[in-house]
Symmetry: none
Subunit: 281 residues, 3 copies
């Protein structure tokens, strides 16, 4: 459901110039789309800015209205994550952002008009620091929308490279985990534990036989997101990916109900779309 | 359910000395019990610190372990809000806190050993600033536990004075509304709107015929808390008062489910007991 | 949670002699364990009657207290479905029940003391009518508890036979689907549609990465159970398999919430453990 407030999110991102050290400001742009800003850097993850008939939540701002940004990360090529019409505009944004994407899809990012020197293709284990932001890529267990639905790291269609990624980004001294779209997979907890994630932006829409019959690739569900956060020692979670399309029927209330009953040591944040949330440890 | 983390909350409150301007650190101590700390002040609201058999959530720290505190506010005299055994110790705390309480119960606070010069009895409309904290008392519609349950401002047993209060406290530039125990009543929304509350700590345990038959006075419920926040233009809510005693059956998941569906412009925070949450606008 | 009523379920089953034509009486015995009685027949499905430390719901009655029964069906060999200590007693029950089990586990049933002439091993497509009860076996996609968890019909360890079954039973003119433990699988909806199921007893405990890491084989979850019922044209559902063990964290409230929002044409029944529910079309 669309929020009723009338915050000008693009303006707020642009003018949030006084974020303290040790803090990160965060705006949920709907689905898995986020803006983050520290004292020194502004980044976007999976900016989904193009108006579409099927969106339940309209864009908070369009690509043309995008505030200055230092770095844009893409996790994979699905339209709600890699929004090509928006990217075509962001590629020419006057702030000259840098771009990070999984190496198997750099061709798609370049084809949208990003200059090669703006773009860094990445793979897991290849940490990279751009401006004030450290980016630690992690695998994601997902799938493209070719029937039948199946889950992999995308290596079989990418010359052995990981095609679906998540990122732990560190800015302002805060570590934020954006998993992209992923199931929980063997080894993910172990990769996350030593990274000491402060805040995770976890999908809760789940997978099911009936979704998959409609060729909708799934994600972790409410219980798995909660259990993952607890197992990985993550301090706080924002549930995501449940409100943008009618087919995504994750329930934040069920997530909260389950996590309060099962892992009450994990904090939950449910920001309104487009409203600034500032996270400090 | 008790959180599994091993944070030393008292120590964390004592050592959180670098809260930025424009921010407030907050620790939920269970039920309606909170510690707040800004760059300049540390306050407690309704500190409920005494171990009791019937507590589902044990104290995060005892009165003896209480960190230095500038100001302690009490909303009313029920044991989970005015914890007299803890107060008897806090009255002699070496940090020499000031105390604020509804004027009809100052005798109870004095009887616990607080010195008259430490204590300020207050009534609605009597704003007071102590150290760095502005306190705006508001009425609360509640009742004492004399059968039959009935709701009032307590004036009928207090020489016309308001016996149950809530407070809007402003510290670090943030306005936090702690309603005490209250139903939503005529005029509350209108009182709150001009106060531009940033963060409200709202009970969700509700009232019901069956609670009242057990002589349990009620509170606003999940829906009323959400609707009040939206109506009063409150930006963020922490649901409270649902986990301490078996008879308090508020459901945070239902609160989230309802508010996301109905008032998605309101942010929700569900902090873990005893873990620091820093709020900035 | 255990029901607080004091119904003597065994006695109620034994004395429910006046079930009308076109009706079936049903008692939920916890987990996936049910007693059904029509005007002419009494059957048990997966009777789980042995007291165990780990049971959250104690047996409604023990095997020794079991009322007269015509037919006992087993879906697969997990202890909460094929309760061998109880079977050893039921095998000698004075009412001389008949038994039905998947053909790959007839040896286990015989070893418990059932006489060969009492027992019928079955496979999908092999409908059988015993007394007044028609039994239509269906495959179930499940797994034994050998790590790592994987899902199959059990053919790879059973000479090509189906090891995990569900049943549509017809008695008193009512068709009841008991799926055993199963995920939703390709073709299940299509098998169910022409069977015109009236009432389905569907597990909602789900599967997750973290369950499977503990070697706990999963089931359909709340959303899948609801979607299956709707897709198969089932008129009413009783959610099951969520309350017996701590590790089964299915939430009937979430099931109801989802199905009312998504498939309001499906009725939900949530019988109390051990209390008679009479279903008529």
């Amino acid at each position: 459901m669309q929020a009723k407030h009338t915050i000008d999110t693009a303006h707020q991102i642009a003018t949030s110039t006084r974020i303290p050290e040790g803090a990160v400001a965060l705006w949920w742009l709907g689905q898995a789309s986020f803006a983050l800003r520290s004292a020194t850097s502004t980044i976007l993850i999976d900016p989904f800015l193009t108006p579409m008939e099927s969106r339940v939540v309209p864009p908070l701002f369009t690509a043309e209205e995008c505030p200055p940004v230092d770095l844009i990360l893409y996790t994979h090529e699905h339209i709600d994550h890699l929004d090509i019409p928006a990217l075509k505009i962001l590629a020419h944004h006057p702030s000259r952002p840098r771009f990070i994407a999984p190496s198997p899809i750099v061709d798609q990012v370049l084809a949208a008009g990003v200059e090669p020197e703006q773009l860094q293709g990445v793979q897991p284990e290849e940490d990279i620091t751009i401006g004030g932001t450290r980016v630690i890529p992690l695998p994601a267990l997902h799938g493209l929308s070719f029937p039948p639905v199946c889950y992999s790291f995308g290596q079989e269609i990418s010359d052995g490279h990981y095609r679906y990624l998540g990122y732990v980004v560190e800015l302002g001294g805060i570590r934020v985990y954006h998993p992209g779209d992923t199931l929980v997979f063997e080894g993910l907890t172990e990769k996350l534990q030593p990274l000491a994630v402060d805040l995770a932006l976890l999908p809760i829409n789940g997978r099911s036989y009936f979704r998959e019959q409609q060729n909708l690739v799934g994600n972790m569900d409410e219980r798995e997101a909660a259990d993952l956060a607890a197992a990985a020692g993550i301090k706080a979670v924002i549930p995501t990916h449940y409100e943008m399309f009618a087919a995504n029927v994750g329930r934040p209330g069920f997530f909260v109900d389950y996590i309060r009953a099962t892992h009450p040591e994990v904090c939950c944040y449910l920001p309104s779309h487009g409203r600034r949330l500032i996270y400090m440890k």
